[in-house]
């Protein structure tokens, strides 16, 4: 049933991590196309994602990275193209569908609710109920518990400047807000975690902690898609790198097969990647 | 009984004649008075081979809605218009219609000036109020009157509102200040109707002419003075609401008077909820008006105003089961027979 695998540049993947690519991809996208009026968003993009790997997506501004992951996570419904999760065809009509299938996403625009506080945002659509009859019959939220756990999650990302966990998210600094979104994805992703520029607004220390978190997620067997403009970050954590260019895919490389400079050159079109067999 | 209308209709109308377009334009479509008018007219339209279109303002005060309806009627090529003019704001449009050759009859409310329309079929709202006042004064039999006035609106001033209210006070024999302004009379003094006596006006409250509004208005009045013994209401729905409030407050002595004499209202008289109500005949107005237009359109003669008046009086009768001397009235059984003018 499942789509044919995309070719892998096996030799460029270190021995220690080859086992990842022995099983079938957890997520495959084929020929994704989306247009907005006369603007072309995606122009037939293919993507394979394996359990336990970090797939980075890089590309110029406006290359279609965010559009690509939106099509994968149900935020956009592509005009054409197919999606397979664990070998089964899926169509996500809404982000909720993708979430329920185990794909957790941090969108570039963060998707936090300004007026709700940090804990409410972290647990949004994942609320926990009180134990006992209050929870089961009256469906009462466990506000206190969620607040405490939210505090821990955010601190785990190194954000220590939040003075009041009951603060509305709209009053947070850009980086604090991003930390809330990232903490949410990390807490709830069960199969795939998609991060669209998760460290853009974060400080040095906080970024480092997010990278650690990504590695942890990968090690527990989740698949991670990381979009970033920070090449050192990408080269540090990625297993493979999908290069997006002008709405299409300009090729997939690995940190081992190519230098950062090459990656940047390919993504800006200064160099083209010869198709590998 | 409908004999009056079918008599006249029998003369000319036959199945073969071309139908005559008539538009009935009321003030609104929710006041039971106008609803009765519309329904009655619709029922009788076939008899005169009239093609009737019913229109109205959106609500009381909607001059523009009436003007639009008049223009629509002209454009449609109607032969005549029956209208309860909202205010003098529609006079210009009526003139346009008459210039275009339509025969325009005012119903219920005479326009100002009266010759704005070809003829008016109306009741006198002031007289309706007056009958209530006279009856109430006589019924009180010299006792002090503690009065609540439940008017129509607080966000608009309309002629029915002050005509009925001020007519009632005049009937009671209380000096009204500006005859077109509610609430500017002295709050206490002597009434001269009946045997005469002291009066206190507790309140003027708007009821919106509906049960819920009538109830709220009455409650406010009662909070100010629970000894109210005479309640004037703009129409019978308001009276029903007032009665509910009185009952809840344990006040069973107050007399309620009202205006309209609709079928439900007469029933309320019979049950003793309303002491007396001035009955008007909207249905008669509408059917007579339609007949007249149909007749004229087919070359017949135009109707004439009632002798001594500048309008064709369709009459007002006081309906009560406790008649008093000096005020002519009919009882509720009789009133029920002719309610709304059927």
């Amino acid at each position: 049933m499942s789509a044919e695998r995309l070719p892998l540049t096996h030799d460029a993947i270190p021995e220690s991590r080859r086992h990842i690519y022995e099983s079938d991809p957890i997520l495959s996208a084929r020929d994704l196309v989306i247009t907005f009026g006369r603007v072309v968003g995606l122009d037939g993009v293919n993507l394979d994602l394996y359990k336990g790997e970090v797939l980075a997506v890089i590309g110029d501004n406006g290359a279609g990275k965010s559009t690509l992951i939106k099509c994968i996570t149900g935020a956009y419904v592509p005009d054409s193209g197919t999606l397979e999760l664990e070998g089964k065809r899926v169509t996500f009509r809404r982000p909720q569908d993708a979430r329920e299938a185990g794909i957790e996403t941090v969108y570039q625009q963060l998707a936090v609710i300004p007026a709700l506080d940090i804990a409410s945002n972290l647990y949004l659509a994942r609320e926990e109920r009180r134990p006992g009859i209050l929870g089961s019959v009256f469906r009462m939220l466990d506000k206190k518990g969620m607040k405490e756990r939210a505090g821990t999650s955010v601190q785990n990302l190194g954000i220590q400047t939040i003075q009041n966990m009951g603060q509305a998210v709209e009053t947070l600094s850009g980086g604090q807000r991003q930390a809330v979104a990232v903490a949410r994805a990390a807490a709830f992703g069960s199969k795939v975690v998609v991060l669209d520029e998760p460290t853009a607004a974060l400080g040095v220390k906080e970024s480092g902690m997010v990278l650690d978190m990504i590695k942890q997620l990968r090690d527990t067997g989740l698949a991670v898609i990381l979009i970033s403009h920070n090449m050192p970050h990408v080269w540090e954590v990625a297993d493979r790198i999908h290069i997006q260019r002008l709405g299409g895919c300009a090729g997939v490389i690995t940190p081992q097969s190519h230098e950062m400079g090459d990656g940047v050159a390919i993504m800006t079109g200064a160099k083209t990647l010869e198709p590998t067999a | 009984n409908r004999s009056s209308s079918s008599d006249t209709a029998a003369g000319g109308s036959g199945g073969g004649e071309e139908s005559v377009g008539v538009t009935l334009i009321t003030k609104d479509s929710t006041n039971p008075f106008f609803v009765a008018m519309q329904n009655g007219a619709k029922e009788d339209a076939g008899k005169n081979n009239v093609k009737l279109t019913v229109a109205s303002g959106k609500q009381e005060g909607d001059d523009q809605g009436q003007i639009t309806a008049i223009e629509d009627s002209i454009a449609r090529g109607d032969k005549g218009i029956l209208i309860t003019p909202m205010s003098t704001g529609v006079n210009a449009a009526i003139k346009k219609a008459r210039d275009a050759g339509l025969y325009v009859i005012a119903l219920d409310t005479p326009p100002d000036p009266a010759d704005t329309v070809d003829i008016t079929f109306a009741t006198d709202n002031r007289l309706a109020g007056k009958l209530d006042g006279e009856w109430a004064a006589a019924t009180l039999d010299g006792k002090p009157a503690v009065i609540a006035l439940l008017d129509l609106f607080d966000d608009k001033i309309v002629s029915v509102d002050y005509n009925r209210d001020q007519g009632f006070l005049e009937g009671m024999g209380i000096d009204v200040g500006d005859p077109k302004k509610n609430g500017d009379e002295a709050k206490t003094g002597k009434y001269t109707g009946g045997k005469g006596g002291d009066y206190t006006i507790v309140c003027n409250e708007a009821s919106n002419g509906a049960e819920d509004g009538g109830r709220s208005a009455m409650e406010r009045c009662l909070a100010k003075n629970k000894d109210i013994n005479l309640v004037y209401t703009i129409n019978e729905p308001a009276a029903v609401g007032a009665n509910a409030a009185l009952k809840a407050a344990g006040n069973s002595d107050a007399i309620i008077v009202s205006v309209d004499g609709g079928c439900a209202g007469v029933d309320s008289v019979k049950k003793g909820v309303i002491g007396a109500t001035s009955q008007q005949y909207p249905l008669k107005m509408a059917t007579l008006g339609m007949e007249a237009i149909a007749k004229i359109a087919r070359g017949g003669e135009a109707p004439k105003p009632t002798d001594g008046l500048d309008f064709f009086n369709t009459g007002v009768k006081l309906v009560t089961d406790e008649p008093v001397d000096g005020v002519e009235s009919i009882d509720s059984t009789e009133g029920a027979d002719i309610c709304w003018g059927k």
Partner: protein
């Protein structure tokens, strides 16, 4: 008192707070305190100005007069919290009222069945609004503007414009108008029903996930959607629940008016919206409380009642209410903005 997380944050907020700042903080968490303040002021003022205001019987009446609008305002609050608006609230109530009354009076149905059909109809009407908002993706203002005309016209056509008196209906339909009380302070069963509506819905929107979704959808619908909130289902639910509440309000209104009339509460939409907004709920969605709405409804009614007790003329009263609306919200803004 403060849940400070981590030492850095603790260090951050070591400053002393002035009493005013503390007041501001309290108000920030409980935005309905400032309308409450206004309500109390109004009570004191009217109490001083007129002896007939603060009496047991007056208070009972005030509550009864507030009941219908207060009930409608619950549905309106839910909808406004989702950044919508409902102009059809009165129309739905009237339609439901006419249907339940006429089924019982003319159709000879048992009261309970007529009541259930009437409430179900209102619920369906709300669901229709919700359907148009979520499936056809129309702005709520448009949808309810349209259904306002539609439901009103149907109610008029169905009832032929005439009203149905209470004595023609079974007792159940009138039951909410019946009262009980201690001395002169009389309450109706209708008030009890309204109180229950507030308690239940207050619990639902503040303590359950559904309530949180209502706020989230209203504050930022796209972000809520991206966060996995089933925003369409929530919206549909909100409109449907609102319809159900309007159905209950219809029942209430029969008891209150002692009749079912097609022209009852003609300005129900403005009245209910006013209560919601005076109660501190934002018309842009996502911010507000039900308790605020209740206070808002009470404020308007208190002013209308108090001014009438003072014997103020009708047109002046109309003017005063206009001023009140502006002043109430201005005070609210001012109190919240107080800074040390």
């Amino acid at each position: 008192m403060t849940t400070t997380t981590g030492s850095a944050a603790a260090e951050f907020s070591r400053r002393q707070q002035s009493p005013l700042q503390r007041l501001q903080h309290v108000l920030h968490g409980r935005p309905w305190l400032s309308p409450l303040f206004l309500l109390v002021v109004a009570f004191v003022a009217f109490f001083i100005a007129t002896p007939t205001f603060l009496t047991a019987s007056s208070m009972g009446i005030l509550l009864q007069q507030t009941a219908v609008v207060a009930a409608l305002a619950v549905g309106q609050t839910l909808i406004i919290l989702t950044a919508g608006i409902d102009l059809s609230v009165g129309a739905v109530m009237v339609l439901s009222m006419m249907v339940m009354a006429s089924l019982a009076a003319d159709g000879g149905m048992p009261g309970l069945i007529a009541l259930l059909i009437g409430v179900a109809l209102a619920t369906g009407a709300g669901a229709l609004n919700g359907f148009l908002v979520t499936r056809i993706n129309l702005p709520p203002f448009i949808v309810t503007l349209g259904t306002l005309s539609i439901f009103t016209a149907i109610a008029l056509l169905y009832s032929g414009g005439s009203s149905i008196q209470a004595d023609r209906m079974p007792r159940l339909l009138n039951f909410l108008g019946e009262g009980f009380g201690i001395g002169a302070f009389r309450l109706t069963w209708g008030i009890v029903v309204v109180a229950l509506i507030y308690i239940v819905m207050g619990f639902v929107i503040s303590q359950t996930a559904w309530g949180r979704y209502v706020y989230a959808v209203g504050d930022d619908r796209e972000s809520a959607r991206l966060s996995g909130v089933p925003s369409k289902r929530i919206l549909l639910g909100v409109y449907t629940v609102a319809g159900l509440i309007y159905g209950l309000a219809a029942w209430l209104l029969i008891g209150r008016a002692g009749a079912a009339t097609p022209n009852a509460v003609p300005d129900a939409n403005l009245q209910s919206i006013t209560a919601v907004v005076i109660g501190g709920t934002s018309l842009f969605g996502g911010r507000g409380t039900l308790i605020g709405t209740l206070i808002g409804a009470l404020i308007v009614q208190t002013f209308a009642f108090g001014l009438s007790q003072l014997g103020v003329d009708q047109q002046w009263r109309y003017l005063a209410i206009g001023v009140l609306v502006i002043v109430a919200v201005a005070i609210d803004q001012w109190i919240r903005k107080v800074k040390a």
